[in-house]
Symmetry: C2
Subunit: 198 residues, 2 copies
């Protein structure tokens, strides 16, 4: 991909992120996104052949941006994995539009016939793999107990992130994601630091 | 409500549960449900004025049935709250159709304009309240540490249940709800049994 094409694609994704977050999937229109980025609608469709693919591009773009950000911090060993995740939850609490978009989309995509089903299956597999790899390193350097199934632990962490989003989006006045995740971190850390007893 | 009307309503809910679980919300039809229960479609609409209300009835019926079952066991003090929840997860792993219906519906209902939005807001509030009340009793009888925010703990437990369902429904070959929840129980119990340190 040429640099020009890549930067045009990135400009589209940035504008589309704003539009989807503000208007939702059904409210956002390809024509408005195209116009905001200085393209015709057929010009936009050259980069993303459909609205669903554009939305997947947006979600993937956010995932990659988050991943790059936290990988850089984690590799410099400045913070723990749980501090990075807590930071992600704090950031998400400030971007409800995007979180809502993601949560509604995941719910719909559970149906195997949904056009984004495979996208989300692959997304979760990749996310679990990245996190398991990180934990394997952390488990040694932090001296975690050795009887923990890291694959299961990662499934659980992602479950907490997703599940907190559901309750928070439904009832933001009653549910806080940030304090919920902080409690979860205490549960996990207490467990990981304890000696295996059985 | 007369006994006859109540039993008719229950018969509709049982049939509708099967139809929604097998065909999904869009695939299930009011005419087929009406026919299976020996009613005309207008006859069915007398009990549930719309398809959305029928589905809410189904989800509420499942919630109430689960609640009655576990309340009865818990009140006899035969098992702990976490054993009851583990049993619920085990049962859910055997009814993917119903779990999928619920998960897709919750995702859609996050949008404040969705006809089931308020239903789910109230459902989660009631569920949190029931569980907090139980935990308050358990906290004393089981001697849990006293510095735990039970409201947050309950938010977290429900988040884990919902989040595990998402990953399991998307990728049943790679994710197991039952082992995931068992690990979560160990995390919580380890934490609750520990003395407060700060």
């Amino acid at each position: 991909m040429t640099t020009q094409r890549r930067s045009r694609k990135e400009a589209i994704l940035q504008v589309a992120t704003e539009h989807f977050a503000r208007h939702g999937f059904h409210g956002a229109t390809l024509s408005a996104i195209a116009e905001a980025v200085g393209l015709t609608e057929p010009g936009l469709l050259y980069y993303f052949p459909s609205k669903v693919e554009l939305l997947q591009g947006v979600l993937d773009y956010r995932d990659q941006a988050d991943k790059s950000k936290y990988m850089a911090i984690l590799e410099q060993d400045k913070i723990s994995l749980f501090s990075a995740l807590q930071d992600l939850v704090n950031v998400n609490q400030e971007r409800p539009g995007l979180v809502q978009l993601f949560t509604v989309m995941v719910g719909e995509s559970i149906n195997p016939e949904h056009p984004s089903h495979d996208f989300f299956v692959q997304r979760y597999r990749a996310l679990r793999k990245t996190m398991v790899d990180f934990f394997k390193t952390a488990a040694v350097s932090e001296g975690y107990r050795t009887d923990v199934d890291l694959e299961q632990l990662v499934v659980l962490i992602i479950a907490v992130l997703d599940g907190l989003q559901i309750q928070w989006l439904l009832d933001p006045g009653q549910v806080e994601m940030t304090t919920g995740f902080a409690l979860f971190t205490r549960l996990v850390e207490t467990y990981l630091e304890k000696e295996p007893s059985d």
